[in-house]
Structures are given as C-alpha cells and as structure tokens.
Symmetry: D2
Subunit: 295 residues, 4 copies
C-alpha cells in the first residue's frame, strides 16, 4: 500500500480519494473547502494545511483540480507541493486542463528534478463513486507501471496513451468529438421531429450506417486511411444531399449551424478539385486546410 497525497476534493476528487482509502492506501488530503476535507478525514485520511504539508513524505501526489492555473499554483506557489516534494515521488495530475499547459508543467517539474505524469479520467461522477473510471495514463512506461496499482483503486480500465502529455491529449480529443457530436445529433433529431418522422425509425436506419456507427471504423479504414480515394460515395453527391437537408431545414425553421458549416467544408473540398473523390477524402481536405501535406 502506498502513501498518497490527494489535492482537490470536488465532485470527482472526493469519491476518488475515498476509493484510495478503501483499498488501504494511506492518504493525506488538501482542499480549500474544509467540509470536503472533513468528510475524507472521517473516512481515515490525514488533513493537511497546505499542499506542501500534504506532499510531505508522499510517494504519489494526485491532483484533481479545475484548471491548469490552479494546478500550477498548487505545485509551485508558496507552501506548494514542490516545497516538500521528494525527488522519488510521482506527481499524477488527473485534472482536465489545457494540454499545452500540461506539457509546460511536466517540463517545469522535470527542470526541478521532479517526476510528473498526466492521468485524466473518462466516464462520470457515478463511475468515480463506483471506482470504475477510465484511466487515461500519459507518462513513460516506468511511470505508468509504477502508478498502475494506485490508479486501479479508482478505475477499472487503464489505457496507456503512449507518453507524457498523451493522456490529456486523448481526453481532449474524446471530449471534443463527443461534445460537438452532441450538438450535431440534436440538429438531426430536431430535423427528424420537424419532418414528422418517427425518431425510432431514424434510429433503426442510422444504427446500421456511419450516421450511427461513426466513420472511424466504417467508411474510413477501407478508403482514406489506406490512401484510396476512389469514390464509394462522391463528395459532389454528399454536398448535394447536404444542400437538400439544409434547404428542408431552413424551410421548416430548424437551425443547423453545424450542418451549414459542414456544407462549406464540402464546398471547399470541391473547390480544391475533390468533387469526384470519395467522401472520406474530407479528412485529406481538412488536413490540407490545417497546413498538413497529403500523405
């Protein structure tokens, strides 16, 4: 069992710390909210009056904080973690913060001779309580191996994301995709309602197509991902269908800002001469727009 400092006892941090206690780890805890600290103390944790005090003697220091500025302050400010941190300890930031801040924090810690990794979590606060979080471990192979026993007290699945800073990166990509997809899904569902079509019928159809299953594992692998842009479904036709959908939506007063934005992406692909390529070539189009040369 390990000696762990846990800093940040919010909606996610509190149950995560509780689970560490349940697994028999020795915990010192710090939070600006004394009630949150008290609840953990009642479960067996040691209260600390500062991040420095919490970190004193700890093998692992876990931070679960609202943003990167707070993480920086907790580490480097007066009475911060670094004041008492052992060179042998491992700092594990589990917060969701800006990835470029994560890189800078890890670099700054490294420059001081300290070891730090990023392990943001997936799933919800219910999973935090149940100890079934998804752990997105960013760090060296050694850091991942060393932290795994502690981390698995809080989650039931750990993915080694491939290196320092990669945990927070994959969290960002995942959240970007799911959050934007939520808005796009709402446009489709509202258009469905406005058209008087049963949502169940729409679901049934979409469950068998890229609309419901996504493109990453359906339309892309056999085409753009292996460099084949011959058309299974042409960009020109996709652009035409999108135009019909937007026309209908505007007729029915259904706002479609994502759909409207996507039509202009297809439009741009056509301007770039991709009209008769497979629709998966949109990936190449966006790559080019980002200044990345074609593969």
């Amino acid at each position: 069992m390990a000696v762990v400092a846990f800093i940040g006892l919010g909606q996610m941090g509190s149950p995560m710390a509780s689970n560490l206690l349940k697994q028999g780890h020795k915990l010192s805890v710090f939070d600006v909210n004394p009630d949150a600290v008290q609840r953990l103390v009642e479960k067996g944790a040691q209260p600390a009056s500062s991040p420095a005090q919490a970190a004193k003697g700890a093998e692992f220091i876990i931070t679960m904080l609202p943003n990167g500025d707070v993480v920086r302050r907790i580490l480097f400010a007066e009475k911060g973690v670094c004041e008492s941190l052992s060179k042998d300890a491992l700092v594990i930031d589990m917060s969701t913060i800006h990835p470029l801040q994560t890189d800078q924090l890890i670099a700054d810690m490294h420059a001081r001779g300290f070891s730090m990794m990023d392990v943001p979590v997936g799933r919800t606060s219910d999973n935090a309580i149940a100890g079934t979080l998804l752990l997105l471990a960013g760090g060296s192979a050694e850091q991942v191996e060393r932290s795994t026993p502690v981390l698995m007290a809080m989650g039931n699945e750990l993915i080694n994301t491939g290196g320092p800073g990669m945990g927070i990166r994959v969290k960002l990509i995942n959240n970007y995709m799911s959050i934007a997809l939520n808005a796009l899904s709402a446009e489709a569902a509202v258009l469905c309602e406005a058209l008087g079509l049963s949502f169940d019928v729409a679901l049934k159809v979409m469950s068998g197509t890229a609309a419901g299953k996504g493109h990453f594992t359906t339309t892309w692998p056999g085409k753009v991902l292996k460099g084949d842009l011959s058309p299974a479904f042409m960009i020109d036709l996709a652009h035409k269908d999108l135009g019909i959908a937007l026309d209908v939506a505007n007729h029915l007063h259904v706002p479609m800002p994502l759909g409207a934005a996507s039509r202009e992406v297809y439009n741009q692909a056509r301007a770039a001469g991709r009209g008769r390529e497979d629709w998966s070539a949109i990936l190449e189009q966006v790559r080019n727009s980002a200044g990345l040369s074609s593969k």
Copy 2:
C-alpha cells in the same frame, strides 16, 4: 413474377434493374442514354422509347433519377408515365430527392387517381450490384406489402418507415447525419495528428464513449429522452472543454468550423439558463431554437 417498368439506368439503377431480371421479373426499361438501355436489353429487358411506352402494361414502375424535377418530368410531361399508367399500377420512386417534392409528387399522382410510394435505398453501388441494398419503404401498409417481393430482388433488408414520404425523410436524416459527421470526424482526427497523439489510441478511447458510439443510444436515453436534465455532465463543463479544444486547435492552426459552431450552440444554451443542466439538454435547446416548445 411481376411486370416492371424501370426508368433511370445510372450507376445505381442499372444493377438494380439487372437484379430484377435475374429474379425473373419481366422488365421494360427507359433511359436517355441508349448504351445503358442496350446493356439491359442484352440481359433480357425490353427497350422503351419513352416513359409512357415503358409504363404501358406494367404493374410496377420504378424510377431511379437524379433529382425531383426529373422525376416530375418523367411522370407528367408529354410521353410521360401518366399517359399510359394503369390505375392498378404502383409507382415506386427510389431516387434521393427533396422530401417536400416527394410529398407533392405523391399528392399530384393521387389527385390523378394513381398510386405512388417512395423507397430510397441505403448503402453503396457495390450493394446495388450484389442485391444487398437497404430499402427504406415509405408508403401505406398495403403498398409496402405489395411491393416487398419486387423490392427484395434489389436489397436484403427492408425497413417500413411508417407512411408515404417517410422513406425519403429517413434517407435525408441519415445522410445529413453521416455527411456532417464525416466533416466533424475529420476535425477531431486532424487535431489528433496535430497534437502528436496516436490515432489508434484515440480510437481505442472513443470506441468506449459517446465520441465513438454516438449519443442517440448512450447519453440521451437515460436523460433528455426521458425528461431528466439533472447533470451527468454539465453544459457549462462541456462548453469549457470545447473552448480548450478550440483554443488548442487555433494554436496549432487546425481549422474547426464545426467545433466553433457547436461552441456557440452551447453558449446559447448557457444564455438560456441551461448551464447546469445535463449536456443532453442541448437537444431541448435546439428544439427551442427551432420554435418547438419543451416537452
């Protein structure tokens, strides 16, 4: 076996007509391209010099045409289908056209005493060749039942979409969702590349979340679809994460037009007082924006 007129022998129509012949149906065919007609004649079809001639004596008239204006012309113009159409015949439009045009066409046919249904298809030209199309049947129960034996010569799955015009509606929704999702997926994948993150790792993570599985069957059913907006993941936090992703993307020069549009949808949800609701409440937000009152 049925007597069928098939009008429109393009990339999809030709193999669909071939499959009807293979199943033993008697076919008369019409297309503006004589080569396309000739190829079907070699397989046993009767050539027709006009839509009217093709329709003469047919029990089913199938149209597979580029847009609704062409369908209208084929039906109603001089030497069009209606000139020789039997009142007992069933016109099946399998084209992908504007749904409100479909409604008008069906109404205009009905006013002349004719029967018409919409059965657009899903999947690709490969499936058209293999006879494994998805058939999205819009029509009365009687029309669907009557047409099923003929339709199943061209596909291997038929979904009864619930009424006249519903086939083309579900096709539109499905295509809207998958075409726009393609552009959104490209943004996520390019950001992944720009961040130096392995796409395989991203896929692995997303395959277990709404990012990869979609929202319709994961985050929505337990929340917004049953009227529960208590937060599993708050709109305010989703908005924050989206802001980080866009900030990183702009730093790395990855254009994110769909992401940028979606952030403003969340922004609007917050302005409407939904910041502390579950992120699935975006559906309610978009419904309200479309002038639909909350359920």
Copy 3:
C-alpha cells in the same frame, strides 16, 4: 411615350406600374390577383387576361415576380408572353431571382429570337412609391440605352452594370453583403451591451475605422488590391484579437456564430502561412479556398 406590358403587381410592382402611368406610358397589366389589376385599371391601365394578351403589341414587357420559376412560366407557358411577343420588343425582368436562372432565361429567349435584359432594383417599397428606386441595368449597351427612358419613370438612379446578367449579379452581391453584415453588426452591438459599453461611444469609434466604413475603400486599396501584403495589421494579431472577443462573448453568454466562423478563416490563413501578412490578405486566402489562384 412607350407601350408597356407590366406583369406582377405586388408590393413593388404596383407602385412601379403606377409611376409608369403617371409618366404617360400606355400600360397593359397582368397579375393573378384581380384586385391588384383593378387598382391599376382605375389609374388608367388596360387589364389583360393572360401574359400573352398583355404582351401583344407592347414595346417593353416588364416582369416583377417572386422567383425565377414564375418568370419562366410567365414567359414560356401556355398563354405566356412568348406567344404574342414581337421580335422588336424588349423584355425587362426586374425581379430578384437566381442569377444562373437569369442567364438561362436570357439564353432561352435569345434562342427564340427575343430580346431580354435584367434590371433588378435597389432600395425599398417607399422608393418604389416615390419613383426613386435604384435601377441595376444588366444588358447590352443598346438595351440599356433603349430602356432608360422607361426605367427612369420608376427610379432616379440607373447604373449600367456591364452586360446581360450583371444587374441580377450585383443585386445578389449587394444583398448578400448587407444581409450577412446585419447579423454581424447585431453580434457586435449585443456584445457591446453585454459589456456595459455605451453604443454611442462604440459608434463614434467605429465611424472612423474599417468597422464602420468597411474594408473595400479603406484597408484594401493600399494593400491586397494592389498586391502589397506587407502588414499594417498582421493576420496573427487579428486572429488573437478575435480570440479575445470570442472568449469574452462566451464568458458573457453572447452567441457569436459569425465571429466564430471568421476566426476559423483566420486560423486557416495562418495554417496557409499567412500569419505575418497584412489582414487584407484574407481576401487572397478566401480566393485560394475558392480554387482561384493568387493574382
């Protein structure tokens, strides 16, 4: 004075026809609404029972109709203008329709030996009443010269737009710019309100800058329009300022869909290596995105 057929007596057409009468022109009028016809008859016009009857004997046929499909029907359908049109007459379409439809209509008329030009109007229904419309004349020099006396009965300013189809094109560009600008202006004004800033102060400042005066005649002529992209104000800095504005707007819950879309255009310009060019280089960026090569 001329013999004129006027077809389309709506909110704009009625006062335009009245002004023609006032100037002494001889008018036959047609509209599907008999009340509208009756009002013009009371002012001295001859009623016509069809477009063909209206056009019979007329030197000029003016159409002021809701869309291009209606114009086409009025010209070419049974009892349409073409049935009685003199080869010496000039058809003047003053409707706001799709420019590519205008091109087709002019071509189709020409193929039948008829002469047609496009003269959409600027300004409002108040100007239609006062006879002070802006006349955007598209046609050959001869057509413009010939029509001017008749047109000037309805307006007080005529711009020769440079050839057939150019009148409707300039109308489209002008309306596009002003209609989208209206939405952008609303975003700026609402952000101003949300920031607690006096709108009068904002107006005072913007009245002296490109924000209020536009770019066409201020920042562009000395830079991108003469091929000089050396920075007076760098794209990188414009992108930064836009990011701050969007960040503030999102903080204050002000939706900024146009601003968000524009940030991604600057983002793309930076990806294309234009970050240190003058902000007017956005014109070159958009040209390139449209598949036009740099000048």
Copy 4:
C-alpha cells in the same frame, strides 16, 4: 512637462515613447530587449533595469505590452512597478488585452491604493510614428483630464469612452467588428469575382447601401433602435436572398462560412416568429439569444 515611465518598447511602444520625448517629457524606459532600450536612450530616455526602477519618481507609468499576463507581472511581480509606485502616480495601460483582465488589474491596483486607467489605441504603427494615434481613454473624468496632455503627445484624437475599462471594451468591439467584417467582405468579393461581375460596379452599388455603409447609421436608427419592427425589408425575404446567394456560391465553389452562419441566424429568427418583421429585428433576435429580454 511630465515625468513618465514607459514599459514595453515594441513596434507600437517605441515610436510612442519617441513622441513623448519629442514633446519634452522626461522618460525612463524598460523593456526585456536591450536594443529597444538603447534606441530610446539615444533619443534622451533614461534606461531602467526593472519596472520598479522605471516607475520610481514617475507621475505617469505607461504600459504597452503583448497581453494581460505580462501587464500583471510588470505591475505586481518582484521588482514590478508597484514596488516603487507613488500613490499620486497614474498607471496608463495602453496594451490591447482581455477586458475582464483589465477590470481585475484596475481593481487589484485600487485595492493597493493605486490609480490605473486603460487607454488602448486605434490605427496603425504608421500613426504611432506620426503621433496620430486614436486614443481610447477609459477612466474617471479626473483621470482622463489629467492624462490628456501626456496622451496627446502620442495621438491626435482622444475619445473619452465613459469610465474605467471602457477604453479596452470599445477597442475590443471595434476590432471584433472590423476583423470579422474583413472575412465577410472577402466572401462577397470572391463571389463577385466568381460571378464574373466587375468589382468596381459592385463597389459603386454598395457605396450607396447598407452593404457599404453599414447598418448602425442607416437601417437601424429608424427601425429597431427606436422600437419599430414594421418591415422595410422583411426577414423572410432577407433569408430567401441569402439562400440564393449561398446556393450560387456553392454552385461556383466559393466557400461562405460567415454567410452560412448568418443564414442560420435568420432561420432562427423565423423560428422565433420574426419572419415578417423588419430585418433590423435581427438585433432583437441576437439579444434574445444572448439571454437579454426585448426592450
């Protein structure tokens, strides 16, 4: 003549400081770049080794820095301005930073007993050299009055923006409007080129309409700004024209992301029941979307 500390000698700051010297003010200067300092020293300034040293004995401390974090550090960090600042001195931040940071900086300075105002500048680096900047003075009446003689050494027009933080606010609004407008203008110009229309003709037409003159002083004052939403030009018609423009642009492969976004704003206005209101009602629509109630 005043004793002035000038901190931040970049592309804008250097000529501004030079102009202060030319007007006879006594200057101490600080910058991280020793060359920039040296050039000012050659013109008569005193070099300072830290912000604190520069501020010592100064009546006015002017900061011209890249962002708000740097301004904060210059003021509050070790050897920062506050270490030697007189309670009688006035700090003038002329940087373009985040307005909410400006508010916080002014509040933090006030809490320490110091006086600070915001005076960002308008126009370009050429104007900085010529001493003809636009000065956007945010501060109390007393602060504005006191700083005016010093400020006017750098500019030729000073606008009192109405209070602390209002200078940076109006700068933000102005830049937002002009930067986004630049992208919108490019869409219109490229559509013009793609349509084969002379840009000069388009300019001539737009110079007389809201497209070229903006809405703030043309279409809005007589309508939405005085609460009259009766239509001079209906939202339904504006929406229709926008749809035509986008349709043409997509046909010609001209990407229109701002236009596409604006169409959805009009769409939303129509969903909110505003279709038959004047197009200036878009302001009310955006206000409502931002959670502001109708006036």
